[in-house]
Amino acid sequence: MSEDILLIVIKVAVLIVILLTVVAYTVYVERRIMARMQSRIGPNRVGPFGLLQPLADILKLIFKEDLTPAGADKVTYFLAPALAAITGLAAFAVIPFGNTIDLFGIKVNLFIADINVGLLYLFAMSSLAVYGIVLAGWSSNNKYSLLGGVRSSAQMISYELPLGLALVSVVLAAGSLSLGDIVKAQANLWFIVQQPLSFVIYFICAIAETNRAPFDLPEAETELIAGYHTEYSSLKWALFFLAEYMAVITVSATAVTIFFGGWQGPFLPGWLWFVIKLSGFIFFFTWMRATLPRLRFDQLMRLGWKVLLPLAALNLVVIAGLVAAMGG
């Protein structure tokens, strides 16, 4: 092992603090951008340009009453938001967000762990996140929550297959499941250029995975009030928000890593390139939320099973053929 445990602990602590800050400010930035797109102003009262708004929101939520509805399954109700947040945060561990840098003479790798099944680990974490939602929906003893939870599982079984299949072709081209290796494999050519269709399929599924518009079915507020988190208040509610925005950041980071050459780029340091590419994706998520209507969940299921899945399989065959033809 090249790094000692102390360094790892420090890195984890710093990363988590950064992630929490990024989530808070992603919410702020999203609100500002959406407001601008909708000819509104957005939060601008707390601090300069409203920059302290996220802090104010969190403080408010900490001091809100923590309600547990009658008839709720108390343990599950308590653990569901925690589960959602834990999987959301932990998934980021395998993402390489920069090159190795020198810090006070110590070589620091800008990732927590580059395990050889990094991609599978990402899948595992994102699939586990659904449990947080389903359990929250079920344990609340609220019909709207229940419907939201059920929708979430319906959504999961629709997008997960094409998502998995679309990434096989990337693994095929990179020859590794390690995200670090996948980044290195794109040193000359980004995979978005080589496999645009894989990216499109991946990205559509990724939006569904984050429960964001136009696939925000489990919490469709005009249909299910707030879906699975109808009954949640205070920081527990904030944990769901944390999980959702972490998911946005993670899938965006994954897209950057797998298709856009990761942290690689000319002139600027690696981590800055990573942040720039990531911001682009977050802006895109916001843009879609402001633009698109919402699909119905049977339509999403049809899209996943009848359009994306065959397309992903076809894409895989073509890519495999090309790789084989180029002498692999």
Partner: protein
Amino acid sequence: MLSDYLPILIMLVAASAIGIGGAVISWVAGPKQPSANKAMAYESGMIPVGTARIRFPVKFYLVAMLFIIFDVEIVFFYPWAVVYKQLHLFGFVEMLVFIGVFAVGYIYIWKKGALDWK
């Protein structure tokens, strides 16, 4: 090899601290004035009729079953993809056969109408 996973473990512990800690903080810091009305499940401002704990008819049950089968099949692609470049043409043909089997199953369930759930 296994020590590669130590950072992951540390990350999980830290994330758990945030997740569970967050839930505990609000429980400690927030006011507590429970009342029967507050504890009532929210149903658009009306008193809920019946319970949410019913045997919920999950219409996409069959699709969920199929999902598990297909998901397992897709997982099989991964090890193959990792070593694909060493397998050369054999790997390609082998994959074609596997995708063929996959496609037959897929077309079968489509034709059977398992995907047109209602």
